[in-house]
């Protein structure tokens, strides 16, 4: 049997102050082959994501972690005490390190102005509660799209700062500089375990090109 490529499932951070709802969303996500972390507040979500205090533009490694957390999507309830889902969304979009992570808002209230406000602020999707299993299939496309966006942002950064600052341990970054700006798949070595990178900027980098060359069979199945 051929060596199986151990690909990490996508990691979703779910934020909801209601315990029964947290239990449900966790189950929904796990059933759909996501790795899940749940927190009960926006503040805890930001802590988990590596942001501390009011200054959302500073990204800090969580002290107890060697590797920065790798979150591919954030799904949050809208109505929460203290920091609402909308407030959390804003903080995420204001953060240079987090802005590319897709955010989905959940709410039990169907209020068009609320929905529009969230979408305008950059939310990728709005789920009406109770969230269903069928909603889960809408998540992966947002993750895939954001990875393309990330790829382009990273390319821009690479071009601006040259390869000097690009001293990450991720082997795909060390490919010769004349190939960085292209998406020619043959110039990227396949990176089997995506969350093994210790570098903060590359931790979330999963080159879109990799997805194009790797067969979809190695991707986690989503129901």
């Amino acid at each position: 049997m051929a060596v199986a490529i151990a690909e990490a499932p996508f990691h979703v951070l779910a934020v909801d102050d209601s315990l029964p709802d947290r239990k449900l969303i966790e189950r929904l996500l796990k059933t759909s082959s996501f790795q899940v972390t749940t927190v009960d507040s926006g503040t805890k979500a930001l802590e988990f994501l590596g942001l501390h205090g009011a200054d959302a533009s500073i990204s800090v490694h969580a002290d107890h972690l060697d590797v920065e957390v790798n979150v591919n999507l954030i799904i949050t309830d809208y109505c929460m005490p203290g920091m609402t889902g909308y407030d959390l969304l804003k903080k995420i979009k204001e953060s240079s390190s987090l802005r590319d992570i897709p955010v989905v808002i959940m709410s039990s209230e169907n209020i068009p102005s609320r929905i529009n406000r969230c979408l305008e602020e950059g939310a990728n999707e709005f789920f009406l509660k109770p969230v269903r299993l069928s909603d889960m299939s809408k998540l992966k496309p947002h993750i895939m799209k954001s990875r393309c966006k990330e790829h382009y942002h990273q390319e821009e950064d690479d071009l601006l700062s040259n390869s000097d600052s690009n001293t990450s341990s991720n082997p795909t970054n060390n490919s010769s500089s004349d190939t960085i700006s292209t998406s020619n798949p043959t110039n990227y070595s396949s990176n089997p375990t995506y969350n093994s990178s210790g570098d903060s900027s590359s931790a979330r980098k999963r080159k879109a090109a990799d997805d194009e060359i790797l067969p979809k069979t190695s991707r986690p199945r989503h129901s």
Binding site: S18, R27, C79, S108, K129, P130, L133
Partner: protein
């Protein structure tokens, strides 16, 4: 022990809960999430729900006393409770939550109090019925508990 009979009883108990409007389609959605990896998921969620909703009801009762006629506050509590009821498929409870909120909107204190009493009653009824249901499932044997509930 006639396990198939016990399972039939459990199924019929559940059917009654649906027919009488205690539970709605959302409960089936929750059941669909139960599998070999999470064989007691439904009961676990239900237990969490009753604990959580009990706490919310208690908070609301305190708020009714401590903050008279504070309809915005009362409504906010009830919104939380309605959300949980909705997530689990607790249909009658959800309806009482909605009536309560209507009464808040109208500034009708007595109406709110009446709804709260009904809500507490429905809470107790549903809790007792579901406890019996899960107990029956457990008696029906590990196979009965671990697999998808019989419909």
């Amino acid at each position: 022990m006639d396990y198939s009979n016990l399972r039939r009883q459990a199924a019929s108990m559940k059917k009654v809960l649906f027919d009488q409007g205690h539970l709605d389609e959302q409960f089936r959605q929750v059941e669909d999430l139960q599998d070999e990896a999470s064989p007691n998921f439904v009961e676990e969620v239900v237990v969490v729900f009753f604990k959580d909703s009990g706490r919310l009801i208690s908070n609301l009762e305190q708020a009714l006393e401590k903050y008279p006629r504070d309809f915005n506050r009362w409504d906010a509590y009830m919104q939380q409770l309605k959300g949980s009821c909705s997530s689990i498929g607790a249909s009658r409870m959800k309806n009482e939550c909605m009536s309560f909120r209507d009464n808040c909107g109208k500034g009708n204190v007595e109406g709110c109090m009446g709804c709260l009493q009904k809500l507490k009653r429905e809470h107790a009824i549903l809790r007792q019925k579901l406890e019996s249901y899960f107990q029956l499932l457990r008696q029906a044997g590990p196979a009965g508990a671990a697999t998808r509930p019989v419909m």
